[in-house]
Point group: C2
Chain length 221, copies 2
């Protein structure tokens, strides 16, 4: 393939190749050389020209994924045919089944064995993500679909529990155990007026969360 | 006061003095020199002979506190006049109102701004503490006082949520907000058959947890 004069195109090709490899063989087992081989027409130097390290590629993939998630979220938020509760279900199902997203999150998982990354993630889950969930929960209180007295608490728990407590990376479980955990979470959320997890979503979520299962890999040095 | 020939006695005096100071003026604002001044008859060198740093003193205070908590726990576990649920309530109330314990935990809080300490604590709360709670929950299932289908999940959530989600160090709140959060937790736990937090314990717990409130201090270098 001819070398491309447009740096954005090359950047995207590197990202796409890296994503394919991270998904197929895992982030830890993919080297820059593998990306060179996968692309065929770019040197190691050309890749380093665009990204200073493999970590930087993963970071950019995560950003790209976040942007796609944001676009999807916005399109769901703008729908007028759904209650706030139904929007939550659509978003939840999407984030646990959309393969690109799940695979990139999975590739990024081993980073969490580094205490600094771990602490930064916990910050996101305890502070930033609840701020994003809260308006939707408040909309649900208004339209009657999420009849809770605990909107802030629900926003925090919907962020903390699925991202940390349900994550097999932190709490290793089997599929039936995962389903049992999500049923436990569903029962608790129902009790505070946040009935997001119905039987169908429980099944989908259990399978989705198990995508993250497996021995925690050691972070690279 | 005369110098004491028994190293254990000197050690204990240093620990007691440090504990008084940490409680009165905060761990971060207490220096080894303050401990020297508080004791009156020991040199800085004498203190460093027993503890290599202020951190080592706090660590030993935490160990001493853990041992006292363990002794108390054992005495409660051995009682035959209480159901498992009642035992939980006694332990919970104790751990949130016993001033020595609360103050030492509070002194140790700023350590959590260090990612390595934070990650280590999260490990304790996700792995070790649930293992200690589980037998008591299982005893409650047996004696009928904790009629839950989710003993393992409850053990994990009783460890994670009070130690992390209810901790104003991580989620800053006012007293009424704290009481609202604990009522939220109580409602969720009731729904999965773990009715530990009754109205009385909610009030006690809210006041107890607020002892940890305040601006997170920066960890010392």
């Amino acid at each position: 393939m001819a070398r491309n004069a447009h740096p954005e195109v090359t950047r995207t090709r590197i990202l796409d190749a890296a994503q394919r490899l991270f998904m197929a063989q895992g982030y830890e087992h993919t080297s820059i050389q593998d990306i060179v081989d996968e692309l065929g027409d770019l040197s190691k130097g050309a890749i380093y020209h665009h990204f200073k390290s493999k970590e930087a590629i993963l970071e950019e993939l995560t950003n790209r994924d976040n942007n796609m998630q944001d676009d999807f979220n916005e399109s769901v938020m703008n729908r007028t045919d759904l209650t706030a509760l139904e929007k939550f279900r659509v978003l939840w199902r999407h984030s646990m089944t959309k393969q690109d997203h799940v695979q990139i999150m999975r590739a990024a998982m081993p980073m969490l064995s580094d205490p600094v990354s771990f602490a930064a993630n916990m910050q996101v889950w305890s502070k930033h993500l609840p701020e994003r969930f809260l308006p939707l929960i408040e909309a649900g209180v208004k339209d009657g679909s999420i009849p809770t007295e605990y909107p802030r608490e629900a926003a925090e728990l919907l962020s903390l529990l699925p991202n940390y407590w349900l994550m097999p990376y932190f709490y290793p479980v089997t599929l039936p155990e995962m389903e049992h955990r999500i049923r436990c979470l569903a029962t608790m959320l129902d009790a505070i007026g946040v009935p997001i997890f119905d039987d169908e979503l429980i099944t989908v979520a259990a399978k989705g969360m198990m995508t993250f299962a497996g021995e925690p890999e050691k972070g690279s040095e």
